[in-house]
Symmetry: C2
Amino acid sequence: MQSNLHGDERLPIYQRLADALRSDVTEGRLRPGDRVASENELVGKYQMAAGTVRKALDVLVTEGLLERFHGRGTFVRSPSFDASLYRFFRFRAADGNEAIPEGRILRREVELAPSFVARKLGIPEGSPTISMSRLRVSESTPVLAEEIWLPFGRFEKFMDLPIGDVGDLLYPVYDAICGQLVAKADEALTAESSNRETARLLRIEPGTPVMVIDRLAKDFGGVPLEWRRSRGRADQFHYKTEIR
Amino acid sequence: MQSNLHGDERLPIYQRLADALRSDVTEGRLRPGDRVASENELVGKYQMAAGTVRKALDVLVTEGLLERFHGRGTFVRSPSFDASLYRFFRFRAADGNEAIPEGRILRREVELAPSFVARKLGIPEGSPTISMSRLRVSESTPVLAEEIWLPFGRFEKFMDLPIGDVGDLLYPVYDAICGQLVAKADEALTAESSNRETARLLRIEPGTPVMVIDRLAKDFGGVPLEWRRSRGRADQFHYKTEIR
DNA sequence: GAGTGGTCTAGACCACTAT
DNA sequence: TAGTGGTCTAGACCACTCT
């Protein structure tokens, strides 16, 4: 079989192949966990040298879209980072292991989008959204207070799911119930003095510093799926980075 | 000329070449800004295929150690990140441009290392250090209050330099006066309520949240050169990141 | 024009994983 | 044992930079 690559012919062949494979993922023809065609198959399908195919795959591995396993094949990476996203905070159980904190939904209702939420989600002001308050609890200690907004159109079915059936992780539920797959997210960090409401939820003194994490979660195509603002005790916050 | 690669013979050739070139940088035979031998030269020197040389160079480019310019050559990257390190804060001049804030040294003296500093710098407790307080000022507004420690042994000559001759950036001075080149750094972020001293320096109310940034700066070989703790107004702090 | 890195080919052989 | 990715070779041609 002979397939041709689309796109700008001035681009290197490996880039165009990478673009084609990336589209297969962003447009749903390949889903996380799926195996990508082997090097040999791609060589046959697109009629190019094996080295060129490898280079295209290398690009996508570097991007984090694919991962390769010697002897097994090349796979679409599963973005299952809900548990890892709050890596900024100490979520350790007493035994020292990383734990997924419990997620308790305190409130869930359909609400017209406030302007700042609409702007983030890229929907018209006043569109319906699902608005939630959620508390994340680790070892029976509250660690994060969250406010979450979802565009109603894509998440309508989520309202039919009893709150008690929602587990500790939301993203797998978005995928299973609404077919909305969170693939990446932008986060912005800042700190502030806790107000009375936040202090009550986190069981701290009002005025104690809290870290604020705004997150815009998107699908593979970059379409905003969820906006949330999370607050946690600053004295439990620890973010490390290396700089060169 | 024929040179042989050292290191574990079970490792891939491209890895061993990358290791050799990395050592050339960390051990000072190649300095930031220097041109690395061209692909052809490396092929001749180490007797290997051009593709293998390219792969070794790719590794180091990905690491951020080298950068390549089509038609010009491959160069050791200059880590001149002092200005970019405080990228977390709004350091913008009124005209919207990024500005390097002024750096005022308020205090500089030789001091025996407190235990937590000694531990960070990897020197014996009670060793002599140079201890400094420094205020970074942008548009005549104080933005960061810093406490800095240097191991005395490597930075002895720095004490001979009049404080007035130290400019707004310290790392170029460390290099020029003491031959100590900062190549990378680990940072850890947290937030706290400002104490009276910090509040006075930053001209804020005591108790207002401040971000705290601990930084351990190292040379190319990973030897700790400087430890500093910086505090800035949380309401000016903004850190953004993307997650996949 | 000489030298550099960037792309691409067409093979060979090896190491790992599945069955 | 068949199929996969990982390493390595030896070339070709192209695009860019410098002088």
